[in-house]
Point group: D2
Chain length 340, copies 4
């Protein structure tokens, strides 16, 4: 059993890691940290985990990292780069923050408003989109979790750019996400009464996940790609649906997905003409992809759906940890979605 | 007081008409019909209206139309054209179905799968998008309610085509709607457990409201316009948000809206850069429009939000009835939105 | 037109007062205060009110109370008593906080944990349960808004104690409330993800609204009455349903309600055997009451439903203001519920 | 691997059985039936299970029961007794319907409105409340799934009657349940718009689960027990919370639960004074129980929470199947709850 520390266990992605590890046959929770809740039992912070035998929450500085094989880091942006820089050099780290996603430090500074404090780590980090960086992740010491919206959009676009079946200059990604992606921080905008029974866009034209799209789309296309992107908040806990408008033939688009994802255990391509629901992947590590021909010739609409807390965050993290530890990639991640 | 009959009062749009008329100073409910519920009190069918003094539900054939000044027809598609054809010739009719929306009978047959059974009525009908057909509505005997999704999209696009500030060949309309638009029919797809906690697209590339877009966008642009369009079902009762990707400068787009809607009582243009929420128009006849410059030069993202049962259906109907009866256009429609 | 100031306009009950006043024929908003948002437009704080012409938010000390006829005070508990004490002596005040609900200052200190800072005002205040204090409210300078849960329970119990048709020692009130009752403060417990898709009890055996039950039930029964009470949080914005278990015959119980509420404009007694839904009073000032005979002889189950922000708070406040200003009691409050 | 047939796989409990079996190490789905969907793939009926290799849906008469070790029967009431009567005599059956819950055939006829058609099976059936019938279930050929509301209430009451720490004549069970308990049938009352954003009671004083309470409470108390009971529909997919008002001391009540459930793997007693949330057991086989002293001396309020589709139906069924097949009782059921 590999010994796991989860830094930042009092947030939703931290709790989701604990949930996934509870039935993982090869990973065991050895330490849980939450600076402001240090000393508390996990059952107080997350009663749904109250039946599990778990270590008490501690401060990061009280963790004995010599007894840890891999760290999941579920801390806020910016804090993360300092915490990871202070960890033992040989400790494997699966990060879930935004801190190590962007390879170009100038781009990082532009989108995040300050210079990166651990650029050497950023250079070493591998982008954690498993299906597109699998070999590098196997060999990595540090992997960077993708943005949850970014992952959803990329699953619907990257194979098309790789296969050259769409026009890279005409990509519109329109997306709706559940509220848990905003985390457990007490913010007015995340209150039930501000979210339920309504729908709205947020961070329009300035959403930071666009920096990830630019980086990965350009890599896949072999030349600069800039897309249009809008994220909306939907009144639900979990799930992201991306609706992507592309220029290309639906058959070719569908074939590119089928070919690219054929052997992927968690990417499920629906028959041409069918579209996914976020509720059909809820709680699971699966991502469903659908393709429909637009009524306008030469245009196609692509859909991808995943659970932001699983395939978009903690499930992806476990999948990458499995690879980094030499375990079967799907271990602990094969639970079926919870519907309804 | 004008005497009003509501045909099809056992559906959500019928009930919404009753709600709006309950405080309307010049309209009085004289008859309510619901064939399958004939004989029942409205309080049995819609307990939220139980405190009102309302006529018992009857069959259409039992209504004394000589004592009626205007009919709201909230019946299903196809049935409607036969019912309206049988009404007294001089009776004013505000229809809420899809039956009289399309002026070209060949287009109607193509989208609805059968020949129209009352083409002479279709010719006489005025498309009920009040702000764009106001004078014709004033003079009309029969107005056709717009599709609720269609209205939302049109409020975000028509002024731009009229003003010539966008490229008519590059319009993508992506939209999320609440569930009440599907009506009160007992369908598996409308069950709570099939709708709550999830998000999905429906009728992709074949949604009938696209026929209305084609008709009205082409009229506004003075040449054929075909857009891309996807509707999604959001887990909420009421509300539609359209997110529209256009080619044009944001300032010009915003100026076109501000100019076109300046005197409109129910269309509220937000400051440039702000975006609407459906929850902020809930239960009201208001439509909020927002404009944000895309990060890609020359591209703009437009948002419009309205309540599908009010401005998208029954509120529009009352607004048009006010015009047809020579009443102040906003009468009975000025209640503020219900939030939260 | 009476000139109205709303103190604490940045909370949900403040916004709801503005909504109700927007179509009130005799009340006009003259001043809006919100200390932390002073200088902001109401449209920034509550975009759903953005189409209204409203005064800018100010600090309380910047209000010219000489140009005000009545004040609605929607401030937090404890703050309120100091603010109201500092208002001009002759200014009519409708308070929505907990500060003036309890007539016995010792009881107040026991439930709220500190001595009352304006006991002379408490003595003058009239408990704002309109149907049971109508004459006193008409003559009052200061009325105290009831707890929203308290109002719901009292509408289901007080007529039974007055009529003597139930055993005062055996009352169990079990209740579910929507989230808006917790206000707009950014608290973890009010986050969408902590409220949606779940149900739980809160403040069990220590909910402060029990002090109001004790006070009013004892008054109605003419002797001390103590009930059992549990409040639950339901995943919805608005609405309270009280389910009350009493000892008494269902027919007598139903008759007591029918008799007591016969002339009440906002209290609607359902036929014996029918039960109310909160969604059927949503957004309105109506309260629905239902009675069902328990299967155990001599026991009856009573239900009452209202909208916590309207009949449970701001609607009640307007109703009382109407009385205090000599206006028709129902003015501005007759909008039908919004369903769905 | 034991070979399993699921009869009635197109309903929510059928799909939930498939979900649980997907990761069960000792049970394998050998046949799935759904008469009206025979010939369809499970992926068409339940896309969330689309990634699993599953048999095509068939009619019951097309199942080769000689290749089946145990049948889960998730069919409607009344149909079930005929189907089970026609199965091979030696085939183990775990039923999820109401058909075999009541031991007294006269009571069955009274509550269900017709004579039982397989009284010999009813005599042989064991009531499936695992923690209270474990030994009999191990030896049973046929177990009867409990009502989901019934199970929730019984977990909060049975230990108290067994221990004699409460007054059997004064039990009030007030409960809220999610919508999935009503199944996937297309009924107006289960539509999103009829359920969301509201709360109401249903089947008051005539809910059939009361027959189970009477049977089991009387058995536990050793004398006739009749309780008061009200079920409410909460706007959520999954979860039941029972709030139970009893006469007895909180400490004794809490001690009775702690003692009785100490060794139970799925029953988790919270510290005295804490109360459960349904969202903290969502998707899991756990049941949380909480106890709070009422403010009235000698009275106590008990809470129990479970997921109606898991511990209240399909999880209970798997737990009982494990026992009947000699497998470890908790096998396949230890996944942690899904929150948020």
């Amino acid at each position: 059993m590999a010994r796991i520390a989860i830094l930042g266990a009092s947030g939703y992605t931290g709790a989701e890691l604990v949930r996934l590890l509870a039935t993982h046959p090869s990973l065991r929770v050895a330490a849980l940290t939450a600076d402001r809740k240090a000393g508390a039992a996990m059952a107080e912070v997350f009663p749904h985990l109250g039946h599990l035998a778990l270590p008490t929450l501690t401060r990061i500085e009280d963790v004995d990292f010599s007894a840890v094989d891999l760290v999941f880091c579920a801390l806020p942006h910016a804090t993360t780069q300092e915490v990871v820089a202070a960890l033992p050099r040989d400790l494997k780290v699966v990060d879930l923050s935004a801190d190590f996603r962007l390879r170009d430090m100038a781009v990082y500074a532009e989108w995040y408003g300050h210079e990166h404090r651990a650029p050497h780590l950023q250079e070493a980090a591998v982008y954690g989109l498993t299906e597109f960086y699998r070999d590098a992740i196997r060999a990595a010491r540090l992997t960077a979790g993708t943005g949850c919206n970014a992952a959803t959009g990329m699953y619907a676009v990257l194979p098309l750019l790789e296969a050259g079946v769409i026009d890279p200059d005409e990509i519109v990604i329109d997306l709706a996400t559940g509220v848990s992606g905003a985390g457990r921080a007490a913010k007015e905008a995340s209150l039930f009464s501000e979210v339920a029974e309504g729908f709205h866009a947020y961070n329009v034209a300035k959403h930071r996940h666009m920096a990830e799209f630019d980086q990965e789309f350009s890599r896949a296309a072999g030349r600069p790609v800039v897309c249009s992107f809008t994220a909306h908040l939907a009144p639900m806990n979990r799930g992201i649906l991306a609706t992507v408008y592309v220029r290309g033939e639906a058959e070719a688009v569908h074939a590119a997905f089928s070919e690219r994802y054929r052997a992927e255990p968690f990417l499920h391509v629906l028959p041409l003409g069918q579209t996914p629901h976020t509720r059909h992947v809820r709680g699971s590590n699966y991502c469903h992809v659908g393709v429909v021909a637009d009524r306008r010739p030469g245009r196609t609409i692509v859909f991808s759906a995943l659970d932001n807390l699983v395939k978009g965050a903690s499930g992806q993290a476990v999948q990458n940890a499995n690879l980094m530890l030499g375990l079967p990639e799907t271990q602990g991640l094969e639970a079926a979605p919870l519907f309804p």
